[in-house]
């Protein structure tokens, strides 16, 4: 049961609202900036609808909040993990790569996962082709796949997507 993409007008409106919020932040709420801002927001929103047409995958507010909480927590783990390895005299790393089959649909969700993984503990997205994601690992003796699957689950929930059971991994 695939939902239909939003209409271009609804997408334009939603993106214009988002851009207006960003403009408000950028101009630190200066009221005199709104005249110019309104023109820029309309142009950028129109251009974004042309370049990135409405998608069937939309972020869900609750899922996005849960994703952000997960992201913040794991950012700390990732930073501390790298720091610990760097400060250990024996430099405990064992670099390598694994390739996994993603269950996320292409487009926004896969893109968000690949970028998220680059900031999560021990993983770095190297290559994404179709549903095959190659991840460079700082330490291949760690369990990499559970971490990737957890990130995948978080991204799926942010987009309101239900994932099929895992297909397995090939090294």
């Amino acid at each position: 049961m695939q939902p239909a993409p939003a209409s271009p007008i609804a997408t334009f409106a939603a993106r214009a609202v988002m851009l207006a919020v960003v403009w408000w932040m950028l101009t630190v709420g200066d009221p005199s900036a709104w005249g110019f801002g309104a023109v820029v927001i309309a142009l950028v929103a129109a251009l974004s609808v042309l370049l990135f047409p409405p998608s069937i995958h939309r972020l869900r507010p609750l899922g996005l909040l849960q994703f952000m909480a997960y992201f913040l927590g794991h950012s700390v783990i990732a930073g501390v993990d790298v720091a610990r390895r760097l400060l250990t005299p024996s430099l405990p790393i064992k670099p390598g790569e694994i390739t996994l089959s993603l269950r996320l649909p292409e487009g926004g969700p896969r893109w968000l996962l690949a970028n998220t993984l680059s900031l999560m503990p021990g993983t770095l997205s190297v290559h994404l082709e179709e549903n095959q994601l190659t991840v460079h690992c700082l330490d291949t003796s760690d369990a990499i796949e559970p971490g990737v699957r957890q990130a995948e689950f978080q991204v799926a929930r942010a987009f309101g997507i239900t994932l099929d059971p895992p297909e397995g991994v090939r090294a």
């Binding site: 960003v22 408000w24 932040m25 950028l26 101009t27 630190v28 709420g29 913040l72 950012s75 700390v76 990732a78 930073g79 501390v80 993990d81 790298v82 720091a83 760097l86 400060l87 430099l91 790393i93 670099p95 790569e97 690949a114 970028n115 998220t116 680059s118 900031l119 503990p121 021990g122 770095l124 997205s125 190297v126 290559h127 190659t134 460079h136 700082l138």
Partner: protein
């Protein structure tokens, strides 16, 4: 009293942020190749900038200014993740797509 506590927390966060930035740079020297160095830079700088942004939030003169500070962190994260991926892909491209081997002419 409360002000003093806020300043103390800000100090700790600022120092922690700078320490993580320094560690990210240390990674450039200690880690052996391009990909592992990217690991150090992206993760440590993400956290370092996050701590510094948190420390600066109480100083923001308005809500909009506070959100602007947070926006800087979000945009820096997006740039960091994207450039890390592009550099990693470029490095991998040199070895004809496969894992590095000694007899690979590229």
């Amino acid at each position: 009293m409360f002000d003093g506590l806020v300043i103390a927390v800000q100090l700790v966060l600022l120092v922690a942020g700078c320490v993580f930035f320094a560690l990210g740079s240390l990674g450039l020297f200690r880690f052996p190749d391009t990909l592992t160095r990217i690991h150090a830079l992206t993760k440590a700088d993400n956290l370092g900038l996050g701590f510094i942004v948190l420390a600066l939030l109480p100083l923001a003169p308005s809500f909009a200014a506070g959100f602007k500070t947070l926006l800087i962190w979000v945009v820096a994260l997006a740039a960091s993740a994207t450039s890390a991926h592009l550099v990693a892909r470029a490095v991998r491209g040199n070895t004809s797509g496969g894992p590095r081997t000694e007899d690979d002419d590229g």
